[in-house]
Symmetry: C2
Subunit: 110 residues, 2 copies
Amino acid sequence: MQLPAMITRLPEADLPFPSSALKTSVLQSHNGQLVFFQIHKDIEIPPHSHKGQWGIVLEGELEMTIGGKTRKYRPGDTYYIPEGVVHSAKVPAGCKAIDFFEEPDRYKVR
Amino acid sequence: MQLPAMITRLPEADLPFPSSALKTSVLQSHNGQLVFFQIHKDIEIPPHSHKGQWGIVLEGELEMTIGGKTRKYRPGDTYYIPEGVVHSAKVPAGCKAIDFFEEPDRYKVR
């Protein structure tokens, strides 16, 4: 599943991963940030927390631990991480997902 | 699948359907409009066209005709409607979907 240019030309999020590992496309709003993630190399996101986050897997899979519970998420699966709940993830190459972050400044945009 | 308040509290799109038929939640950006749709009554969207649109079904199903080709879309299925391509849809009650519109003013926001 190819994301169209109308999405991939959106600005990128400033993340602590090399650009060879993932591509991000950020839809910036006053009401939050929505990020299209395309993962090219396996990545691990260590435990952290912030305001609310909701997401859906588009392609591939990811493993997430939310508030101590670990499960795999596959295309069409959605997840919700309430404010302050610690979460971490293992995301293999090939995963595509959308995440909506309640914070409009969750990421700096390049 | 329940969409969290961080999404359902976003502003609504001004659409020609009664509010009993559907609920929309719009993430407004300079780079487009992303709309979460929750359909409460069967609706039909007549053939029309505009700039690019990309979407994914979250729950339930919908039938769409894009450029003369009709198919059903189910949770996790994505679709892309290039600029100018005529499309129409039959969306039964219970469907939830996300659509991203290239035009930042595709809908008036209430």
